[in-house]
Each structure stands twice: as structure tokens, then as C-alpha cells.
Symmetry: C2
Subunit: 366 residues, 2 copies
């Protein structure tokens, strides 16, 4: 593609600074390797096969996906080493999982029920292959996961006793790390998660089910690798782009934010202005500090409210700050669902468009 100035991009549109992306990918990969942690980047953030391939090229062990549909997209692009971080339930998922395995994918799955284990076992048998299984432990986020300790034993044994699934170890997602916490609060969650997993591991070891892998999420973890204790692998997603919430949580600096939304002021008033992006551009994902994003270059402006296609920027005082036609860049609260709204993003370097990044996995919720 010839050089193309961002002034020629219609709005609203997602811009991705490729210099920042590359720095983020290289930094986290190097830090994981230095600590002997395998990196399984979560592709739910970018949903791009091009960026996933880049993560593998830089040394990632495999790719994490949230849904089977995302796995299918990666597999179709020739990216075969996949961790599906989601229990697969029901006969339609079984058929699709079988198809995925029959078409060259090497898959691991995290799960917390016999029903999900049965899906994996049957798909593996039909495809004549093996599927790695991680037992998801509820480390107090209270989403998916069996209770820790002795309670994890029956499912681990159930999986280990079958042909097809290959018992590999434990999986945890301490999603409450995203809560409204100070750094000490986050440190305590990591400590508690490590304690829970260590106790569960010891019970499994005594039962002859020693875990070879202990898989931990996410970007708040990857920013605190020195506190992870016994993990053997890590699954950050947001770290590739970062966002307002990872900045607020102290998991990155604003300069590490690679993605922003380019918008145009469409209506200007004394105490507010309207931009051409609302919840269908930014989502209603919240921040503990209120507001919906960082308006780059305008620290005094608050992204205060939205409707579907309008964003309302406000400021104090009665002096109009923005004029109709002005273009702004906004870092959203949470980048992952924003990317999922857009068919593509614009990969830019020093103000020039270098590449269109298609959101290949957009909307693959099934």
C-alpha cells in the first residue's frame, strides 16, 4: 500500500500504532522468556490472524482463544496451536470441535465439568487424536472453575482416566484483578491465587496427578510476572494494545497504549461537544474513574456520556473548546470489545497508514 496520511481516514475508525504494538509484544515476550514462562497470548483482544502470527513468530508457544469460533478462524489461517479457554458444551460444539481436530489443529481446552470433558473426549476419539485438558480452578473470581483443593480431584481423575483427553494441569483466571483496587489489593489477589493453586497442586501430586502446566491470565498478571509464583504459562491479551483501564490499574503507561479511536466533532456547544462515536463505536465498558476514555491532548476534557452513535465531551467553564470538524484521538476504557465492533483497524506508523488490520474473529461468539 502506498503511504497514506491518516487525514484521509473517515471517522470514526480505530487506529493502531504499529511501533507501540511491536514494542509491547517484544517486551512481554522477553520478560516471559526471562522468567521461564510460556506465553500463550489471548487473541480475543485483536482477533487478527496477522497479529496472532506475529505473536507466534516472536516466540509465543501457542494462541489462546475465548470461543470455538475464534479457534476456527485461527485454524483456517494456518495457526494450529490453540488453547480454547472455554468449556465446550453440547452436540453442535462437539461436531465443530471434531472438525477442528480433523483439520490439523493441536488443541488444549480449559474446562470445569464432566460434560465439557466428555465433549473433548468424544471429539478426540472421533478425530483419532489427543486434546490437552487443563482443569479450571475457581481462584475466587467465581465464574467458571471447580472449587480448589480436594474438590478438583474427581474431575482431574475423570479426565486422566480417559483416552483422548490428555490431562495437563491447572488453569486459573483471577478476573477480580480488574477490580477497583490499589496495588496492595492486586498483590493480595496474586498471593491468594498462588496459595490456592499450590495447595491444589500438592493434593493432585499426592494423588499421582502432578500438573505439568499451570496456566494463568492476563495482562494484569503479565505486568507483575515477578509475583506469579508457580505458574508455568501466562495468557495476556490486552497487553498488545492496552487501554485506559490497564493504565488506571498501573499495568502499563499511557505511552504503551497502541490503539485509539479517531473521531470527528459533529456538533459544538458552549459546555459540550458531540463526537461521531458512541456505544456502537466504544461500547459501554466502564472505568472506576468514570468516563469513557482518554481524549489525547485534552486532559481537561471528560468523555462523559454516550448514546449509540454520539459521544458527549464536556469540560468546566463556559468557553467552547472544540469546533465542528475537529478530529480527536480517544483511548477507550477497554479495547477488546471495541476492536470487536469494527471490521478492521488502521495500522499506522508516524501518522501514515501502513496496513489495514482485519478483525478476522469479529463476532465469533459461538
Amino acid at each position: 500500500m502506498p503511504e497514506w496520511d491518516i487525514e484521509r481516514i473517515d471517522t470514526p475508525a480505530v487506529l493502531v500504532d504499529l511501533d507501540v504494538v511491536e514494542a509491547n509484544l517484544i517486551r512481554v515476550q522477553a520478560r516471559a522468556q526471562a522468567r521461564g514462562l510460556a506465553l500463550w497470548p489471548h487473541t480475543k483482544t485483536h482477533k487478527s490472524t496477522w497479529l496472532a502470527a506475529k505473536q507466534l513468530d516472536l516466540g509465543a508457544q501457542g494462541l489462546t482463544v475465548a470461543k470455538l469460533g475464534e479457534a476456527e478462524v485461527m485454524r483456517a489461517a494456518g495457526l494450529h496451536t490453540l488453547l480454547i479457554a472455554y468449556p465446550l458444551i453440547g452436540p453442535i460444539k462437539l461436531e465443530r470441535m471434531t472438525h477442528l481436530l480433523e483439520h490439523g489443529a493441536t488443541v488444549r481446552v480449559a474446562l470445569d465439568s464432566r460434560e465439557a470433558a466428555d465433549t473433548v473426549a468424544e471429539a478426540a476419539r472421533r478425530a483419532g487424536t489427543e486434546v490437552g485438558v487443563l482443569i479450571e480452578i475457581d481462584t475466587e473470581y467465581h465464574r467458571v472453575g471447580v472449587p480448589p483443593g480436594e474438590a478438583a480431584l474427581p474431575l482431574a481423575r475423570y479426565v486422566a482416566d480417559q483416552h483422548g483427553p490428555r490431562y495437563q494441569g491447572l488453569f486459573s483466571f483471577a478476573g477480580h484483578m480488574s477490580g477497583n483496587l490499589d496495588e496492595e489489593g492486586r498483590r493480595r489477589i496474586l498471593e491468594r491465587e498462588a496459595t490456592i493453586l499450590a495447595q491444589t497442586r500438592d493434593i493432585l501430586v499426592r494423588a499421582g496427578l502432578a500438573p505439568e502446566a499451570i496456566s494463568l491470565g492476563g495482562t494484569h498478571h503479565s505486568a507483575r510476572m515477578e509475583q506469579l509464583g508457580l505458574g508455568t504459562e501466562i495468557r495476556p491479551g490486552t497487553y498488545i494494545y492496552n487501554d485506559r483501564n490497564t493504565v488506571i490499574a498501573g499495568s502499563c503507561d499511557e505511552a504503551d497504549c497502541a490503539a485509539s479511536v479517531l473521531v470527528t466533532v459533529v456538533s459544538a456547544h458552549e459546555t459540550w461537544a458531540v463526537i461521531d462515536g458512541g456505544s456502537k463505536t466504544f461500547t459501554f465498558d466502564q472505568s472506576h474513574l468514570g468516563g469513557f476514555g482518554i481524549v489525547r491532548g485534552w486532559p481537561e476534557i471528560v468523555f462523559e456520556r454516550m448514546s449509540e452513535e454520539h459521544g458527549i465531551l464536556t469540560w468546566s467553564g463556559r468557553t467552547p473548546l472544540l469546533r465542528v470538524g475537529e478530529r480527536l484521538q480517544i483511548i477507550p476504557n477497554h479495547i477488546c470489545p471495541v476492536i470487536n465492533l469494527h471490521d478492521a483497524s488502521y495500522g499506522v506508523r508516524r501518522g501514515q497508514v501502513e496496513r489495514i488490520i482485519r478483525t478476522d474473529g469479529r463476532g465469533k461468539v459461538q
Copy 2:
């Protein structure tokens, strides 16, 4: 398509009950006609050219769209009579608007600035046609809109004095009708909107700029047509599907909700269960009553929280209510952004899939 039971649909997926859709369309069209109101349905809710054509067949005067990209989708499907309820700003929008006009569209635009009026004027001149213009008045929602009264006069005159734009009248969107209000509060907003528009109209009439059209939104208005006073046309969107928030606002009954999300329980616990839809399926759009939707058939269950791909359902007591593999139907808080997340919905009638409804305008935020 042969009959196809909804049991064969993979989850999560949006189901649309076609009997309810048809009843909603026919009822609102009939009520508008009985009151002499032109119906300009807002297509942002369904973003489907098939449903838009159905609305026109039933007597709608034209189609409202939020963004130029949605107008392009409708135009390409042969649906030419369009109201773009959004100011068009900047040179790229000008080029696209010109193209739209050159390819057969008959367009009206709502706007609140000279910049937006200039875009319309220039596109109309280039395409050798006319574009209807409605002056958007801020009726106290404080989004887009010039202040009411005398302040509306200069822009109305600016538009009326040009060739290309054809001054048609006034446009209002009292979005604060969706607020946390009782019926008396909503009545007062409608009354206030009517007063503001009447005063502004009188000023324009005295200035020789009598409005031929006064255009009002939305579903809360269309449910209260007897309170609208001086409107000549109405632009409801959500009424085709309805959702939890239109039920809560008293703008429809639960039986009028045509759209729901089919989900599967993927993890079951004593006091909660996890479904396979989170904010990438439902969005984080809020309700004044808390929670994220109505779980059909389970009034005791609360859709309490979400992450991107997980929904957490809770209940009181310590008796497990749901089992892994169970399928549920959930009416979301706000259906419009939900439809926008999904490439298609399943049009069903009495439990059988009758038609796939493509979300043709999905993601057309530009």
C-alpha cells in the same frame, strides 16, 4: 428453507419471533396513520434491508438511519427514501453523500450547524438534486441541536437561502425519555418538548420560515402518540423488537418483545451459573433496575454480571437451579446494540427457523 427446529441453532444466537415482529410493525403503523403521523422507522435497531422493506411495504413514508454508512446499505438494496438523522461533517462525508445522491437516493438530513448545512448544499449541487433539511432543536436532551426559539432562526434562514438544501422544518430527539422516570416524568418531558417546538415554530412562521415537517423520535414517543401535540412525523426504532428497557419504561409489554438471545449454561454452581454470552453478545447497556436481561421462564434468576464471553446468572438460596447444557432465552436490556454485534439473527415462528435475517448495516458507524 426447510423447517428447522431452534434446537439445531448453536449458541449464543439472536432469535427473532416473526409473529411478534409483524404485530409490532402493523400496530404502530396503524396507530400513526390513525393520528395522521408519517412513520419514518429508525432502522438502527434491526439494520436489516429485509425488515426495512417490510416497514415500507406496510406504509412507512421513508427510513431513518443514524449514519451515512447505514444509508449506503439501504440505498444499495434499492431502498431510496432516507432520513439521515445525523450531521454530515468533513470532505470524506461530502464525497460519500454526493455518491449516494448520484445513485438514486432521495435524502433528508437533520443538522445543527452551518458546516453540516454546507456539506448538504455542496453534495446536492454536485449531484444536481435537492436534499431536505430539518433543523435539529435541542429540546433539553443536550446532545445535537441548536438552542430553541430565536436561536434557531439564523440556521433555518441560512439553509432556506441556499440552492440544494431544501428547508423542511424541525427535528427533535428527547432522548431523556429513556431516563429513570415514572410515567408522570415522561409525560412532563413530552409536554416540555411540545412547548419548546411550538414556540420555535411560531418564531419561524413569523419569519416566513413555516416548517412543513416536525419530526420526533422514538419508541417511547410512538407508545404515547396521543401526547405528541404538534409532530407531523415520528421515528421509532426499538418498537420492532422491544427489549427489557422498553418494558420497564412502560412502552410495551413483555409479550411484545420479539428478540431474545438463546444461550447455553456452560458451568453450573450452587448459587450461580455461567452462560455462553457476555458483553460481546449482550453489550454492557444498563437498566435502571440493575441486571442485564430478562431470563425467560425464570423470574427468580438475575442476570447479574458479565465478562466478554461469560454471563453470570444468580439466585437466592443454595439450591442449584440450572444444569450444564441447559438452554435459556434472554431478553436484553437494549436490543439495538445487541443486534449490531451479530452478523445475523434467526427469524423463528412457533419454534421453527423460517429465515436468517442478515444484519446488513452491522458496524456501519462511519
